[in-house]
Symmetry: C2
DNA sequence: CTGAAAGCGCTTACAG
DNA sequence: CTGAAAGCGCTTACAG
């Protein structure tokens, strides 16, 4: 058989990568001992340990992860499946996941589904072939059979942001219902009464929960509810707002289920000469960096993303050590970040005409 | 020896994953033939091919990537190293890379350096251990020895956005110098004359190139140059703008080397009662989604990110097939996207007082 | 605690 | 074109 060792060029010289065999020879021990020192699994006599460590150092040995993975039938990789990496919300999720995964010495395989059921299928299939330590999944298809297959294979799956059908999966989700209620209460406290809701339509549970919370809080406050569904974009926010204003011209508050739609609303209101927050108060879900850059800065409902992701990774790593245990289903509250868009300057909207420059990087603690 | 085959649970039953041996037995051929059919490398007689395909289908066989990777000493993975995934610019880069990598049937290992030299070191080391097909690197340390080691190992490296020291690496970079010149010309054509520059300080070649282009274009136009360095954030944009205005109160145009700094400038100008674009015109590098949502919408210099990333992946895959060939060093021009912030409504700033609502999602073709 | 040895599941020159 | 067999570089029960 041919010598098909790993090859490379260095200064024009052919070389072979250093393996455990080389280290074992240099240290005068068996490869088993080298393995035990390198992987740190079993205890090794101090003198042997030292000799191996010295040889590793001297030869510049690096363990071959490919071989380790094959042998263990497990790659030190965590799959992260998000629906849209360009959405600042998920960009933050990915960043937080990267930080946690890196801290634990693992690698992150990033999968982006673009909200496509087919792409989710393809990626989960692909991940099953990779034998990852676990998968953090923002599902666009919560009932995909690939999720079941992954769990059958013994790969822990943590549903993130949205839950999945298979109840063996752990789940880390925001409390959307409660958040909508908080938004309603906040606007009511600010003196707003005719509060409309700009929803995100469709099958996504996120949208349903946010609408449900709104309706429930409005009913509890004895107020009439009025909502229109849009999409996730500025233009759909525009049309939804226009439809809402047509049905309900007296609206004085808006809750947008997504911040892009809030931007659409802002534009429509401005075009109609309605002032924010004096004529209409606005609260939006999600808290992208630009929320405090727009005019007026947007009051938002922010998810504790770092904490949620840290929790997802912790749940995953716990499963890896100790497989059994009931599935975890953790819910996180959202934080209301009050900015100008919902702070009426006067109890009524009379006379509040002058425009002051807003300073988003200044003191933000003033809450009225 | 123990039976340490891959295990899993399905409906409570223990099972062993299907391997090539199983497929070979079912098809009545050797594993070598199965391998040849599955990997599609060599040609196989039609009848054998059909029998193997049928067995694969029937048994639901999926090749073990871990074994393939070990055998080939190459994982079908592409490493993507960016400096900040939360920066919308790099989020778009990552998304584009994901699309290309997925289209080619590979996986993406995402590494985020947070602009830390140590993290770049750690990740490149880690990538070397993974034996990836190649690495797309946005370097924060262009001279890191890990880059040299990766190339020594035979792993193709494509520098993206910024170049690296080792000239064996390919590079895909924006033409920052030219872009600054375009920005200067655009403002000059709009009647602006006292054009200042808000730079991004430090060692990054990006910042240096953008400043150089500005200075050169100003000199060529016979105009005085004036610049201040800031960072990449809104607050540093604020302070840089304030310093610039102190030194140069008569400024009527600003070029920001980064869009966050442009936001800072916008706030300072508003606070001082200077109107954009009538009193001061602004052009910013980068083109985040919110650039057209702010008031006024920002004129930007956008990189052709999809094209650049597609080109980076193509260069990488070419190297994998045919190692030799001189390193590629491709430069891409930026596109000036003219929006309100640099469109003075009147030749002079007299009388342009009324504020119209801006409609970013409407017709954008009007160029004056 | 240590070593000899099997085996993870593939791929691939070699011989036929 | 096909098959037998070695080997990629590790890990890990087993025996000592």
């Amino acid at each position: 058989l041919p010598n098909s060792k790993s090859l490379g060029f260095s200064e024009g010289r052919l070389f072979r990568a250093v393996t455990m065999v080389d280290v074992a020879a240099a240290a005068g021990v068996s490869v088993a001992t080298v393995s035990r020192v390198v992987s740190g699994a079993t205890s090794v006599a101090p003198e042997y340990h030292a000799r191996v460590a010295a040889a590793v150092q001297e030869l510049g040995y690096r363990p071959n992860k490919l071989a380790r993975s094959l042998r263990r039938q497990k790659a030190e990789v965590i799959g992260v499946v998000v629906s849209d990496i360009e959405n600042p919300h998920f960009a933050e999720v990915v960043h937080a996941a990267e930080t946690e995964v890196f801290r634990n010495g693992y690698r992150m395989l990033l999968c982006n589904t673009d909200e496509s059921v087919e792409k989710q299928q393809a990626y989960l299939q692909m991940l099953a072939d990779e034998h990852p330590l676990g998968v953090i999944l923002v599902p666009c298809d919560p009932a995909g059979v690939e999720i079941v297959q992954l769990l059958d294979l013994g790969v822990p799956v943590v549903a993130f942001d949205r839950s999945v059908r298979d109840d063996r999966a752990d789940a880390i989700v925001p409390d959307n219902v409660e958040a909508s209620k908080v938004a309603v209460h906040h606007l009511v406290e600010g003196g707003y009464r005719r509060i409309g809701f700009l929803g995100i339509a469709g099958r996504l549970e996120t949208g349903a929960a946010r609408l449900a919370g709104y309706k429930s809080a409005m009913a509890a406050a004895g107020l009439d509810a009025c909502w229109e569904d849009g999409g996730l974009r500025v233009d759909t926010g525009v049309s939804a707002t226009e439809r809402l204003l047509e049905r309900w011209p007296e609206v004085d508050g808006l809750i947008a289920a997504n911040s892009m739609m809030a931007m659409g609303a802002l534009h429509v209101l401005r075009a109609r000469g309605l002032r924010v927050p004096d004529d209409v108060g606005i609260v939006a879900f999600d808290d992208p960096g630009w929320a405090e850059l727009v005019d007026p800065p947007l009051t938002t409902l922010a998810q504790p993303i770092r904490a949620m992701v840290a929790s997802a990774v912790r749940v995953l790593l716990d499963r890896i050590d100790a497989r059994p245990g009931p599935p975890q289903h953790l819910t996180f509250g959202l934080e209301l970040r009050v900015r100008e868009s919902s702070r009426r300057r006067l109890p009524s909207s009379l006379g509040a005409d002058q425009k002051e420059p807003t300073s988003p990087w200044g003191a933000k603690e003033t809450n009225d």
